[in-house]
């Protein structure tokens, strides 16, 4: 556990240090003051506006803003779908891959546009270089920029007074992409290439094996004397998939693949990138509402939930699998589904970071985690992706919980609740309830349907673990995470279509009420803080917020968790 604690400390220091420096810069960019980077990239920004006939100074009310978000994202889904279906007749397809099946293509398009990046396909066997670049990489950028734009709009709603305007979506989209995501991705991609992540347009490299492999297919003896090393423009995609909390891997096994994540250092950089921007969003929020303590308080609440869940995961994984030790394997951490270069501590830290944020990339196979090792990632997703969460989306989700928390506190003392000087009234609470309750339906209903129908056949592990696979799948899609208990055969029409719909609802059903709430908050007067105002930057409020998040999550999901990982743990403990 010493390793786990040391790594955690180093990790949080790197994430928080970056957040403190980058958050204020993000706030300046969204306020239209991009400084030194603006002098370099400003011409590009203005060119984009001119090409698209957009006036960045033209403010939008919440309906226009939401309309722009939805239209842009809808077209994004269509474009990804088109690339997937037509890739067979398009260039940059050195492996000669054919069109992606319709239901798989729909699922992937919904998945990448909604910043989920659930993948029911294996990248190296399904997508051409062109589809990876022009469809998937693009959505990695713009879905992240969309999340940050919606956060900026909500923040403006809180920070401004008596207006209907929330800013211009096109300006927010372009600025997020150009001034934040692109420069960071460029630096990270280069650093990753230095470690051995590939970046090339050459086709797979064929090599002769030192020791040919004999194997059997259907009882017929076969032999393989060659290995085809899959290449491609990987680093450019991996950098943004980590930074933009996307998580969709270039290869089937994501960041467990040695060409996607070759060394402990590349692992640390990719891990850092998972939480870097979600944490920086909190700092940006503090600056934009002109009270940095508010940002720190939100970040503190996230850390308070994250750290204990990580420690449970690391403890369970480092304890190892007693069933294997009993057979005579040396004692040690649970190494099934893990890579030697990362080991147990780095894999557990990744598993918790990727599910706390709605990233969903993996560097180890969560399906093979110990029952109590897999539980924290599952629960972190079920909390609604607000513990860091997606870039932008995590914080706007958390701000909805803040509204619920101040409302609960208001009920306790019998006062109209307020947050940052804005009165929280029935309309805000209605919107907050929509946001908080919808993921529960999106997770539990499809899980129930899947386990009572023939979709059960997709489970790859028996008994309680099979149930966990299904619960994990819909917890992931229903909260736009994207990680998986990958044994589940999700590439079926049932999972692809239902999952695609779940991901779209989960993303846009939340964005619309959040923007409506932003519009309503923007119109309100600012109430000066009085005697009875609950300060929202104190440890007391952090505790209240943590309690609200945990209670909503636990009330909704503990029964389902009891049927999955908890039963499995008890059965294993009973057997040994």
């Amino acid at each position: 556990m010493r390793d786990a604690l040391l790594q955690l400390t180093l990790y949080l220091a790197a994430v928080l240090g970056f957040a403190a420096a980058f958050g204020p810069y993000m706030a300046r960019v969204y306020e239209g003051r991009s400084g030194a980077t603006g002098r370099v990239l400003g011409p590009m920004e203005r060119l984009l506006y001119r090409l698209c006939g957009v006036d960045p100074e033209q403010p939008m009310d919440w309906k226009a803003y939401a309309g722009a978000v939805l239209t842009f994202n809808f077209l994004g889904v269509l474009l990804v779908y088109a690339f997937e279906r037509l890739q067979g007749s398009l260039p940059l397809n050195p492996q000669g891959l054919s069109a992606v099946a319709g239901h798989t293509a729909f699922n992937a398009a919904a998945s990448f546009a909604s910043n989920t990046n659930w993948q029911s396909y294996g990248g190296e066997t399904t997508l051409s270089y062109l589809t990876q670049m022009a469809a998937m990489t693009v959505q990695n950028f713009v879905s992240a920029a969309t999340g940050m734009a919606v956060l900026a709009a909500l923040t403006r709603g809180l920070a401004s007074r008596e207006t209907t305007q929330l800013g211009n979506f096109w300006a927010d989209l372009v600025r997020g992409t150009l001034y934040m995501l692109l420069p960071l991705s460029t630096l990270l991609a280069l650093a990753l290439v230095s470690q051995g992540v590939v970046q090339t347009f050459r086709p797979s490299a064929k090599v002769e094996l030192l020791d040919p492999v004999a194997y059997e297919v259907d009882g017929r003896k076969q032999s393989a004397s060659e290995q085809a090393i899959p290449l491609g423009p990987v680093a450019s995609q991996v950098a943004i998939k980590q930074l933009g909390t996307n998580g969709g891997g270039y290869y089937n096994v994501n960041s467990a693949h040695p060409l996607e994540n070759p060394t402990p250092l590349s692992n640390f950089l990719e891990l850092w990138a998972i939480l870097a921007l979600p944490a920086a969003c909190c700092m940006m929020f503090g600056v934009m509402v002109r009270d940095r303590r508010q940002g720190w308080a939100l970040l503190a609440a996230m850390i308070v939930i994250f750290v204990p869940l990580f420690l449970i995961c690391a403890y369970a994984e480092q304890g190892g699998n007693p069933a294997l030790t009993a057979l005579g394997a040396s004692p040690g951490g649970n190494m099934e589904g893990k890579e030697v270069r990362f080991g147990v501590a780095s894999s557990a830290l990744w598993a918790c970071a990727t599910t706390a944020a709605s990233n969903g990339s993996v560097n180890a196979m969560h399906d093979s985690f110990m029952p109590l090792g897999g539980l924290p990632p599952l629960f972190l997703m079920q909390l609604g992706e607000v513990i860091f969460g997606g870039v932008g989306s995590g914080l706007y989700g958390m701000l909805v919980f803040v509204v619920v928390a101040v409302f609960v506190a208001g009920l306790m003392v019998g006062r109209t609740p307020e947050y940052l000087g804005k009165k929280i009234e029935p309309f805000e609470m209605q919107m907050a309830s929509l946001v908080v309750l919808i993921p529960a339906f999106l997770v539990l209903l499809p899980t129930a349907v899947a386990v009572v129908t023939r979709a059960r056949a997709s489970m790859s592990n028996p008994s309680a673990h099979g149930f966990s696979e299904v619960l994990y799948a819909f917890s992931s899609m229903g909260n736009n995470n994207g990680s998986a208990f990958a044994g589940l055969n999700a590439n079926t029409p049932f999972y692809n279509v239902l999952g695609g719909v779940v991901m779209l609802i989960s993303r846009y059903w939340i964005i619309v009420p959040v923007l409506a709430m932003a519009g309503s908050l923007a119109r309100k007067k600012l109430v000066p803080p009085g005697e009875g105002t609950l300060p929202t930057h104190t440890p007391l409020f952090v505790c209240l917020l943590v309690a609200v998040v945990l209670i909503v999550g636990a009330l909704t999901f503990v029964p389902a968790l009891a049927l999955g990982p908890v039963v499995e743990h008890l059965l294993m403990a009973g057997a040994s």
């Binding site: 984009l48 226009a64 066997t125 022009a134 040695p258 060409l259 394997a329 093979s368």
Partner: protein, 198 residues
């Protein structure tokens, strides 16, 4: 609906413009830079012996011969270490298929190494996440040293020192784990002239 239609033109143009920028200019630029600054790494960190490319230093290969260090079990199909289709086993910790597989691997390893009931290093009996793990732990390498020395007619010390040379430590003494690259180690052994014994 009117609100959506009003945004259709800027949405379409913006999507196309950003596709050009982030989907073509950015990956092309990164490829150019990567090929210029890190040409070896950007093309798969290939390793050569006798002028031929024998693999990628980052992608494991399957070894079953007595003269070679064996890698970890791999769950790729249809044959182990199929680099074209990475995959883990995704077996749950309580799945009988996992315990059966591990039991079989333990027996085979004990038969080949004849060490009675000494515990077998865990990484040699568990499948990696990618199915392409290029590394084993130093313990797993030492476990196999005597067999390889015997098969190649080399002194145990000579093989041990080759293992030592191919061992990488943890980064900053903290990140990741110590590891031995199986492919480069086996290539190095093949380069040592020794009395070959069948």
């Amino acid at each position: 609906m009117r609100i959506l239609l009003a945004q259709l033109r800027p949405a379409l143009l913006m999507l196309l413009a950003l596709t050009a920028l982030t989907g073509f200019v950015y990956p092309a630029l990164m490829t150019g830079l990567a090929q210029l600054v890190f040409p070896k790494e950007a093309n798969g960190s290939m390793v050569a012996a006798d002028g031929h490319e024998r693999g990628s230093a980052l992608i494991g290969q399957s070894f079953t011969g007595q003269r070679y260090f064996w890698a970890r079990p791999s769950a790729t199909g249809p044959f182990p270490y199929n680099a074209a289709a990475s995959s883990g086993s995704n077996l749950g910790p309580a799945n009988p298929a996992l315990t059966d597989a591990v039991k079989g691997r333990l027996e085979a390893l004990r038969k080949a190494h004849g060490e009675g009931s000494a515990p077998v290093p865990l990484d040699l009996v568990t499948a990696s996440a990618s199915g392409l793990d290029p590394h084993i732990t130093p313990e797993a390498a030492r476990y196999q040293v005597a067999r390889i020395a015997r098969a190649r007619g080399l002194a145990v010390e000579e093989v041990l020192s080759a293992v030592e040379r191919h061992t990488q430590r943890r980064t900053l003494g903290l990140l990741g784990e110590a590891r031995v690259n199986v492919l480069t180690l086996n290539l190095a052994l093949d380069a040592i002239p020794g009395k070959l014994r069948q």
